[in-house]
Structures are given as structure tokens and as C-alpha cells.
Symmetry: D2
Subunit: 358 residues, 4 copies
């Protein structure tokens, strides 16, 4: 079988290089092109010596026409606005786009403009984009797959890392009506790779090591994205208070979510709802009652694990904790999960059975 020609745009960022790694190990894809504005002309292996002996690809400039000549599908691992600048042209050139940036995640251009402080230059695409959380929007992704098969270029907006973990922690309780009210608190902890590859005071080893801290409190840009998803799930307007923390690990993200318990529900009800919701999901597991997930269990994979508890002493609160790899299920591996669905491939192909276990 001929392999699908694949380009990774923004190949030297942390999410981008993880997409490259996954494509290189994917039996149905071929990494034909990788771009980086600054490093164009040098080999990917010069930037990441891990590729030495494994991949000799030379980085290119992210020019849409060159991408269209070399690839059938493009993964965009770029900062917000960079995808706006290139996606419309890629689509019109017939390249299916799996966009890891924030540019097409929010359905409402006005909300985008409010939180990102910049106009949305292709709002007409928002209606035909699918938000790539397969456990919530698989049918939408499969519809894109049908259009792709007919030769149409389609666009997937891959969720952010915090929204993915928060959504997976909250969905079963909200869908089952176990959580009431309109407030969800998401208190999350991310590894340092979430801060990106840019070297600055905050990503310096000696700053991040042996320390934890909150950041972006009360104004992190993932907040509206989480609210959009939880509102969709709950069927009522949900408010999210979201606090991300930085902890000294490279990869991994844990979201612990607090929701008001509906009257009369028991811990068993909650456990059952989560187990049922994810019973048929290959990549999301509910842990046995009494167990909470740890991020190392899902490192370098597209997997998520969820644990749940009910604090039923006085004020009754559902506490759900979801572990993902911020670069895996939180970015590159989930992007590939979406791509597999859109490209007609087995959903989990090429994205890792299980984590390196220790």
C-alpha cells in the first residue's frame, strides 16, 4: 500500500517533533516534508540529535504550494495566528489539515478575538471544522473522513491539552446528570514541555526544577475552550474556573475537576457512569474505584486514564482526575488519532499501545 504523504508544519516545536516521531513510526504514513521557518535548510536531526541515524529529512520553509506538492495531509503544530495565515490556502490547494493550534477550536470568532486579542481572519471555516476530541465528536470526524475520501480537503481543530484532560474528567458526570449547577473548577498540573521550546526564565531548568507554581490564574486562554465543550456536553451554559500549575516533569498533565453532586447520588453511581461512558473507548480508561491516575501511566501515548471520587461528607462534590500526556493525548497523539479517523485508518494505529512503563 502506498503510504500517505505527510507534512509537519512547525516540526521543531515540542508538539511538532512529536508528530514527526509518530509519523515516522506509523505504518500508513510517510514523512515527506517538515517545515520550520528558522531552521529551514538544516536537517531535523541537527536540531534533535535523537533523529541521528533514524531520519535525514531536511527542514523546509512552510510554503503552502510546496506543502501541497509534497503532502496529502498537513499537521500544523504552530502558535495561534500562524494557522490562520496558512490553513485557508492549504485547504484550497487540496491538503487536509490537522491543526494543533488554537485558531479553529472556538466556534465563535468573537470569543476567539476576545481571548486571543486578534481578529479571526477566516471565520467562514469555523462551521465546517470539527473539534477533534474523538471521544466526544467521533461521528463528526468520520463525516470529515467521508468527505476526505471523496477528495475534499477537510480541517480538524485538535483540542488543547488542558481542555482535553478537563473534558475527559467532566464529560461522564455532566452527560449523566450527576453533576448539577453551572460551575466546574479545573485545577490542573502540567509538565514543563507545555510551556514550549522557547528558552526563557521560566523554562530554565533551575527555575522549573524542584518547584511548583500556579500561573495564568483566572485568565488562561484555555478557559473559553473548556467552557465551550462543557456547555455542549451539559446542555446548559457552564462556567469554568481554571487554574493551571507547572510541575517539574517534562511530559504529563493531570486535571482534577470539582463538580457539585446532584442530590441523592452515591459514589457507586459516579463510578458506574464513568466506567460505562468509557467502556468502548480504546484510549480512555476508568480506573477501578478508589484509584486515581498518575501521568507516567500514559506518557508518550494517546491514552487517558480517569479516576473519580465523591466527597459526600457535608458539601457533596464530585472529584474527577484525568491523566494525559500533554504532548500525547494533549497534542500530537490525539492529532494522529483524529488523522486516523479522517484518513480511514484504524483509530489507534501508530500511536502506542502503552507508555514506557517506568
Amino acid at each position: 500500500m502506498e503510504r500517505i504523504r505527510t507534512c509537519v508544519v512547525g516540526a521543531t516545536g515540542f508538539a511538532g517533533v512529536e508528530v514527526c516521531r509518530i509519523v515516522l513510526g506509523h505504518p500508513a504514513l510517510e514523512l515527506t516534508m517538515a517545515t520550520d521557518r528558522k531552521a529551514a535548510g538544516t536537517r531535523l536531526a541537527d536540531v534533535y540529535p535523537a533523529f541521528e541515524g533514524a531520519c535525514d529529512l531536511v527542514l523546509s520553509l512552510p510554503e503552502p504550494e510546496a506543502i501541497a506538492q509534497n503532502a496529502d495531509v498537513a499537521f500544523l503544530a504552530v502558535p495561534h495566528t500562524a494557522s490562520l495565515a496558512i490553513t485557508p490556502q492549504l485547504l484550497s490547494l487540496g491538503v487536509t489539515v490537522i491543526d494543533l493550534s488554537a485558531d479553529y477550536r472556538l466556534h465563535d470568532a468573537a470569543v476567539y478575538e476576545q481571548w486571543y486579542g486578534t481578529p479571526h481572519t477566516s471565520p467562514e471555516l469555523l462551521g465546517q471544522t470539527v473539534y477533534g476530541l474523538p471521544e466526544l465528536n467521533r461521528s463528526g470526524l468520520l463525516v470529515l473522513g467521508e468527505r476526505h475520501e471523496k477528495g475534499e480537503a477537510v480541517l480538524v481543530a485538535v483540542p488543547g491539552c488542558y481542555p482535553t484532560a478537563t473534558a475527559l474528567a467532566a464529560i461522564p458526570a455532566l452527560e449523566a446528570g450527576l453533576a448539577t449547577g453551572d460551575l466546574v473548577i479545573s485545577d490542573a498540573i502540567s509538565g514543563v514541555s507545555g510551556a514550549g521550546r522557547s528558552a526563557n526564565a521560566r523554562t530554565h531548568y533551575c527555575h522549573a526544577n524542584e518547584s511548583v507554581e500556579a500561573y495564568g490564574v483566572a485568565h488562561h486562554r484555555h478557559t473559553p475552550e473548556i467552557e465551550q465543550t462543557l456547555t455542549q456536553v451539559a446542555g446548559r451554559e457552564m462556567n469554568v474556573v481554571f487554574t493551571p500549575h507547572l510541575a517539574p516533569l517534562t511530559r504529563g498533565l493531570l486535571a482534577t475537576v470539582y463538580m457539585t453532586a446532584a442530590d441523592g447520588i452515591t459514589a457507586n453511581d459516579v463510578q458506574d457512569a464513568y466506567e460505562r461512558r468509557y467502556a468502548d473507548e480504546a484510549l480512555v480508561s476508568t480506573l477501578p474505584a478508589g484509584h486515581m491516575p498518575q501521568t507516567s501511566s500514559v506518557a508518550a501515548t494517546a491514552r487517558a486514564q480517569v479516576g473519580v471520587a465523591l466527597d459526600d461528607r457535608r458539601r457533596r462534590v464530585i472529584i474527577a482526575s484525568c491523566a494525559i500526556d500533554n504532548l500525547g493525548k494533549g497534542a500530537a497523539a490525539q492529532a494522529m488519532q483524529c488523522a486516523n479517523l479522517v484518513l480511514g485508518l484504524p483509530e489507534t494505529q501508530g500511536i502506542g499501545v502503552t507508555a514506557p512503563l517506568i
Copy 2:
């Protein structure tokens, strides 16, 4: 000046050895005795090579009469129930006790028995014990100091690490009436030293490294201690939902606390209340508006730093984050802060101006 003879009971645990280190550097105290049931007869330096060349003390058995012969004050760095077994006798032998265990923290013996699953064998002491959070109970500690000066042996119950950080994060908002309702959510992250010196699957380097996880969800024993303090502060019965997490660092604890904002308050009101509350505290600092603390800033000290924000988009929530060292302000250094107050010494003597900064 003759130095005050000091015994550390449970000297090889993480909190105990930190008390030893502080005593060794304290200009007014002398480490005359250190006990450990298992390692008695060997040198402290055999257990902790860091003491090689710095301290040749041989560990003893924790026998009250021997302690009373050798020390005027005893720090108990022992598990719960071990303090119950020894404290009454130490007091009757005239030894002032700074107890780092949980045994005398809860005012109500019934609550102790419910959460710790064991009878409280000296409830008569609870009324005369001071809960050693100096920023809340300094006057009580100074009264103990007066009694100690008159030759009476007194008892301080040093707070737990999570209760310390949660209380310091919540006190200003509750005292000032900025937080309403009866629910406080405390989502906290601790370094692995909080799990103690016992070697087990969870403290194995390869388990704890590169991972975060929640534990003790909805039933951690620090919950009633936090509720007791917040109820005292708020003047109404407070409920606490408390979720501790483990992160890959040795020392450090961050508590991020969520409280319902009273109507009409502004972010400035909140910032002002915190700054005013801690303006005269030597060891607790409110960070400038917009800043959140990181645990490395307070490592190996008795210091705490607090940052605060108001999420005033729709559901209005006060978010306060407090960083301490779980073994410093969360245990040994706070114990010494209490001891200084009780022994008539300068409150911050011997407990570190500032952290090793990186």
C-alpha cells in the same frame, strides 16, 4: 549564655532530621539528645552522611526519663499515637513539648478518634494545648511562653503541612469577609518528602519521578484539621474539600484554594486584604498583584508566600495560592518558630533568612 538543652524524638524521619539540622545551627539551642527506636546506638551521621564531620551525636531510645534528664525541650517528630504515648509523661517530668505529630492538633477528641481510628488517651491535655500556627495563635503561644518561663512544661501542637498552607491562603479572605458561603476547596501539591522516609512502591524514585497524581481524595486526615482552623477564622462552620497531589520534587508544598467571592468585591479589595493581613508577619509575604508563588522560593525555610486572584467573569471565585516547604513552614521550621515564641527567643531565630535561591 547557656544554651537550652534540646532533644529531638524521632530524629531520623524527614521532619525529625530537619529539626536536628535547625537546632544544630540555632545559636540559643544545643542538641543534647536525639532518639530513634530502630537506630539507637548508631550515630545520626551513620544514618545521614550529611552530618559526617558536623555532628557526632549517638542516637538513643526515646525514654521519657532519659529525655527529661538531658533536655529542657523536646521536639516530637513521630507518627500519630506515638506522641500520645509519651507526651503526658514528658510534661509531668517538666519537659516542654513541641509536638509535630497530629495527636494534639484537633480540639475535639471525638473527631480525632473518628479520623485516626484510635482512642485519644489524654483528652484532658487538649484544652491547654496551643495549635502552633503563629500567624493565627501567636498570643496563645506567648501565654505558653509565660508559663514556660515560670517553670511549667507546656505543649504546642504544630500544624500539619497541608493545613498550614491552606490556612495561610484562606485566612485573609475569611477574616475580612471577602469569602462567603461554607465551602472551601483546597487543591494542593506536595513534594515526595511529605510521604515520609519509609521506602515503598510509592516513594520509589521510578514511581514518583516524571509523574503527578492525586491521592487520599475525599478522605485525607488533614481535612478535619483544616476545617477546624477555617471554622475558627470564619466564625461559622466551614466545609473543606481537600485534594492532595504528589509531584516530583523533594521539598515544597503549594495549596491553591477556591472560595466564593462576596458580592461586590474587587480584585483590589482582595489584594489589599492579603497585604494588610501579613504586613507585619516576618515569615509570610503577600506577593504583588498578578504574581503567584513558587515553592522553591521558600525551600528549607519557615517562610510562606501567598498570591491571590479574583476570577470575576461569571461565577466569582477567589483563588489564593500559598507556597511553603512541607518540611520547613510545614513542619520543622514552624516547630522552631513556635519553640522560639515559647522559649522567649526572637521568633525567627535560627530558621533561615531566605531559601537557597535556586
Copy 3:
């Protein structure tokens, strides 16, 4: 194609579970059995929650007859002497054995007995065992493959982690005659997983974190194994001074090797010899001149990277540094590389194109 039935003996140790992970992702193998003496009867996923949702296999006791009924090939990830106890019977029952223990690595039973302090109970097998360093003994492994194809059960002794890295660093210089004399110094650094899964004072997170230390100085058991290999390569009796260090990372091993430079050689000669030696190796790369490898580049793979330099100021010394994953090329992934060769599969099948790059 029917997949080869595979058993992992000692499946809950760090090397064992890594073999399980690799087998689960290997297209030609099927994990039909996994054994653990203590955890038999529980699921592998109960011990390693990472398998939750990915593998429901229940652990068995390591009984040779049961293994022979369930598997064509067995990976032994057991401590020394445990392989002695089971390998002869497995072979006679027709099971090909890939042994990760030290029991069959040394050709001379007397040397084994001297360093391991226990008699070698099946010295007759030593002559027909191949030391599984494919880059040195590929032809021997392929001969085993021919015998295996004819239905004979064969035995591979997979090298230790330190011997693998030291050998790969030293082989090109010794083979090419660039290094003279009979002394090689190997100064190596390993991640904590090298100390195994047993929870003890040394593997406690708070001991291993933020610290480096030497251990086993002048008497580590990998010394005779390294000497055996370097003597084979150099064609003269080589002495090795070997110092392992522990550093705070989970996976990764770096060996920096010092060899006396032959008269007249240049840095280019050295660089050329290394590049030539590994030019056709899929899993060992020589880095460009001036570059030294880092262990993260090869994490979770069977890959090795080597960098080399010549200190030609006064005393002329070749310095070669080799990075591997102690559980990958240093154990499980190299075991699979050997198994692939013996089982007639592509040498690198199932063992990872490249590391998770960050």
C-alpha cells in the same frame, strides 16, 4: 501470519515489564504468558496501571512446563541464579531462551563463581550460548537463528547495561588499533531504574533526587563482563577500571571511556574509525565530530549514540562517550533485537524508530 507465542519471566521487574511492553507492540509476537512469583494470580495491569485498558493478562508462576505449553520463546528478566534454575529445563522442553540475567554471559564458569559467589550449575551450556551484542556477535546470533528454525531451542545471553555502553564506546578504537595498552577506564552514569524495582533507602525518591554518587567502586560485577568483551575485541588481555554512578533520572545510561591513544593518530583518525565501524548499524550512530550524545536521545529505544574526542595536549587519551537507555539497548530492547535475529524477523522490528524526543 501466526504470531510467535511469547512468555516473559519476571514480568514485573523493570526490565521484564519493558519486555512486555515491547512484545505487546510487536507485530510478529504475542504475549501469551507473563510470570511473577509474588504477584501470580493478579493482572499485570494491577501492578502497572499503565496497562489498564491495554492488557488484561493475569500473571502466572514461572513453571517451566507451563511456559513450554504456552510459549515458543521465553524472555528471562530475572536476577542471577534464577536463570540457572530454569534455563536448562526450558531448553530441553524446546523453548528458546533470551536471558537478560547475568547467568550465561561469562564464558568461564570460574569467573562467574568468583564474582557472583555461587557455583555455576550448567557450565555445559556456556559453549553454545551467544553473548547478545549484535553489533559484535551478529553472525553468532544468526547461526542460533538457523538452529532455531530447525526446531532447536537456543540460548542468548543478553549483555548487561554498563557492558553494552562501554563496549560500544570502546570497540571501534580497539578494533582499529587506535587504542594501545591494556587499561580501559569506564566511568558511567545510570538512571535509578538500573537499581531495580525493590524499594529501599537508595531507591527512595528523596535519596536519589537532586544527588549524584558513585557506587560499587572497584568491585562492580559488570567488570569481568566488560573485560571479557574488550579482550575479545582487542585480541589481548584488557583490564578495566569501572566506576558506575547514580544520577537522578529514571532511564538512561552514559559510559565515558578513556583509552591510551596510539602514537601518531589524529582526532580525524578516531572520528573516521567510529563512523566507519557503525556506518551499517541501524541502531548505533556516531555523532558528528565535536558532538557528544545525551541519554534522552535514545530513551525507550534500542538505539545507541556515540561521540568521540582525542585529548592530544600532552598525555594523549581517546575519550568516547556512549548513550543508551539502560532498560532499552541496555536490557529489554536489545533482548528483542537479539530475539528478532534468532527468530528470523527484521532486526529492528518492534523496538522503536526513535525516542520520545523530549
Copy 4:
């Protein structure tokens, strides 16, 4: 007693801020001035929030005349050449200089120029500077102290971190004639703070974490400094092959040193020589036979610990391993040890009894 007015030049670098921290806790010194070219005008606490609530000093420009007005002693924690630019003037203005840079460490200006690639602009000072390794040159430092007491400004060149650890590991064997030949191999491992505060690809958390690597192989600038010291100690010209490694910890440095053993010596001879050599040193300890030091034992202190072994199998080699804190005994704390000697204060005043033990 009036405290000695102290200025720290380069106060925001890692060594500089550590000097500030030590000065703030030093009973005989007062931090009257701290300089930083870029951050002048802001508070030190704005750069390092750990100082929030502990120190309100505003950073100044490093102008010699202002320094001379405000301080009796200046610690220079600056890159090489920056000390050349300021030290002569400071001395002529009467300020005693404790220089942590490399500028005055090498006795021979030509060697400086060869390794640092820049002319030495004040070679006339080299003859009157003392290399501040107190365990080797205490008498020289005390002579400076006498001159300082008479009102003369004097200059101490504080050793580099690698030279300190290597020297302390090698001195006893070389002085006692137990090591022969002219070659010493020093294989060392440093925490990331050794790479300085500059944020770049190599100090990014995600690069440094979970990895070890060699760097500067065969050409690190500490090499001639080590050779100068070992030549002084051995009384013959010594050659040093020096390989530094980077490991994922913030603070800590371990040097493992290999020396050819003299004929006939025993392991006991070596152990005895090390114990005798450091018996009267307050800050350097020889560990009991069979023990090797770990860096965490000396973190945040001026202490060093040394362990030693003899590999006497065939090629007989002395292996000595020395643990220091690269910012403590390797920089700031050793600088203060030197300052104490020069200023007539107790040698160990203000520099920490023992490390935070875990």
C-alpha cells in the same frame, strides 16, 4: 559590633545571588550594595521572589567608586574579563576583592590568554593574589588577612567548581606520594546551575531533565586551573584529562578522579592518608572506608565529602570521589570561607553547619 559593609557585584547570577543569601544570614556582614548591569534600578526581590519579605535592596550599576563608597569588601560574581575590568580600580580604591571569576586564578598570564582567548590586562596583580582553596592555601589567605587588617585592599581568586572538587579528591594521594605518574583523569558531573542563569537550548528544562551528557570534552577551561593546582601539590608537572558531564539536578558536583597507584600501597594506606589529611579540616570530611559521597549531603553548604578506593586487581588505580555543591564549596560558600579568613572572622561563620538533609 559594626558589621562589615559588603557589595556583591553580579548579584543576579546564580553564584552572585547565593553570595547575597549568605551575606544576609552572616552575623558579621551587611549587604549594603548589590549590582547588576541589566537589572539596575529594580529590587533584588523582583528578580528572585524568594527575597520578597526578606530583603528590599535595590540593584545598582557596578561602578567602582560607588562600590568603594558603600562597601569594604566586594564579591565579584561575574564572567571572566569582567573582573579584569574592575578589580584593579576597586583595589586602588581600598576595596578588598573576593573574585569568583576565572580572571586571577592562573598564575601565568600566558596560560590565561591561551585558554580564555583574551589578553590579561593586569598581570602584575597575579603575584599578590592568593588562590582561595583554604585547605591548600590557608596560610596565604591568613597573610592577606594581616594585610587587610592593616588597611590594605587584597585580592582572593576563588577557585572554580570543578577544580575545587578535583583538587580535594587528589591532594591527599599526591601529597602522600601514593599516586605516581603524571596523569590524573577527572571525570565529573555537575548540576545544571553550573551552566549559569542564561536561558538557552541547553539549560531548557526539557533538554536537561531526564538526561546526562558529556560536554567540553578535551578542552574545558578548568583544565589548566586543575593542572596548576595538582602540579603545585605533586611537585612535578601533572597532566589532567578532564571530562565534565551535565546531570539533571540543580545544585551539586561530583568529581571522580583516577590516579596510578604507587607500587606496594594498600587500600588502608589510601584511606589513612585521606583521613589524616582532612582530620583538622572543618569543611572537608573523609567518609569511612567503603563509602562514597553523594552531592545532596553537601547541598547549600561550604562542605566537601571525599570517599576513596583502590582498584588493586591488575592495573592498580586509586579512585577518589569528591562531592561539593557547585554553588557552595564550588563558588559562593567557598568565597565566604575565604572572606572569613581574610576578614579575621571564624572560618566557617555564616556558611552553614550542614545541608538541608533531604
